[in-house]
Symmetry: C2
Subunit: 235 residues, 2 copies
């Protein structure tokens, strides 16, 4: 089993002022590439964030944010159905109130694609935001997948070149080069955070960070090929 | 806390050939009336049934049926948000994989309206249909509400008159009169089944069966007024 995260920036328009704008062409391209034993986790981009920003975690904010996350999730699942796949939406707000990881495993074994997402969750008597990345990390810890993929807008790039492999020998220099402090913030964006997340997950399995726009990259990741940057499992 | 079931025939067009047709005006009228501590359970009418009929409980059938149930649920929640309420969709397929009734209770106490529905559920290694009525019965058993209401297309009617109260003294004659064998099948429809369901729940609390089309009936039910037919709690 593999876990694939598709970024909110990849599947929604997150530009300033964008509100609940899905990138249907990207979602359809991804849907066609999804095969095999996989759990899909998507970000919520301009569906989730504007509501949290406007209403915070008030009752109104929780209801509106969760509802918007479900709308994007429904768009993704609809696209998967059109592509002949069998999605099974699983919403963190419900799932993590009493998590059943065996249910997820059974669903995958029966040929479904569980589709999770960033969401609001209720924990210890209060609501908080759970990002898609956090969902991925928890799933990885519990389900021990073969590999985790982050389909983002780019692989890890240093000095204009894709870093093919991050391993113990070069991890410090790559982290340094993707750090905002290195003055490269304009090109690396949130890559430092993504890389740190990948390093945490690399204690469990190989992690790939790659461009979801690249032709067939998702299909190749799911087939076990090398795509983008591989963060090698730490032995 | 009260539990309100709204029938699939009330909120969708279930006529022959109707496919995923929501009755938005009815849903909006219901949304405006919903207040106080309540869990809403809706039928899925022409969103759920056609898919099950066409694909059975194959992978395709499960994915398409569940997706369609969620679409109707999203329409109901959207309408509640427009009416200024705070819905929290809760899907049986996920919820019953590892049910957490305290989560539902907390949500109600925090001012949310959990919105559940008929669905496919995964139980003991296989998929089956769970009707909205069954969801209501399980919730009633676990949460012990003050009252349960079934907003249907009619109250219990015998000889053209609404039966105001069903109690130990008249239950047998009312059941007889609503039985298909009495030759009244054309006017009573599925009322016999509804009444039997209500009698099971009456071991826990009062149950009301009433017309969801009647002006303010839902608001009155939620305020503790008598609406339609009361099936008195069995002491």
């Amino acid at each position: 089993m593999r876990i694939l995260k598709i970024g909110g920036a990849l599947i929604t328009d997150k530009s300033d002022g964008a509100f609940e704008v899905a990138r249907l062409d990207v979602i359809e391209s991804i849907s066609r590439q999804l095969d095999g034993e996989v759990i899909l986790v998507h970000g919520v981009g301009s569906f989730g964030h504007p509501h949290v920003k406007m209403y915070g975690l008030s009752r109104e904010g929780v209801a509106k944010t969760h509802h918007a996350c479900l709308k994007l999730n429904s768009i993704v699942c609809e696209s998967l159905i059109r592509a002949g796949k069998h999605p099974l939406p699983v919403h963190p707000l419900e799932f993590f109130s009493s998590p059943d990881f065996d249910f997820l495993r059974s669903a995958v074994e029966e040929g479904f694609i569980p589709v999770m997402h960033g969401d609001i969750v209720y924990e210890a008597g209060r609501f908080r935001v759970m990002s898609g990345d956090e969902v991925v990390r928890i799933l990885a810890e519990k389900l021990r997948p073969e590999a985790v993929g982050f389909a983002s807008d780019t692989a890890v790039v240093v000095d204009g070149e894709v870093v093919e492999l991050v391993h113990s020998g070069n991890v410090d220099s790559v982290l340094e080069a993707t750090s905002p402090a290195s003055g490269k913030a304009d090109v690396t964006g949130g890559m430092r955070g993504k890389l740190e997340e990948a390093l945490r997950i690399a204690r469990i399995c190989d992690v790939y960070i790659f461009s979801g726009y690249e032709k067939d990259a998702i299909r190749r990741f799911l087939s076990g090929e090398h795509v983008g940057t591989k963060v090698a499992k730490v032995f």
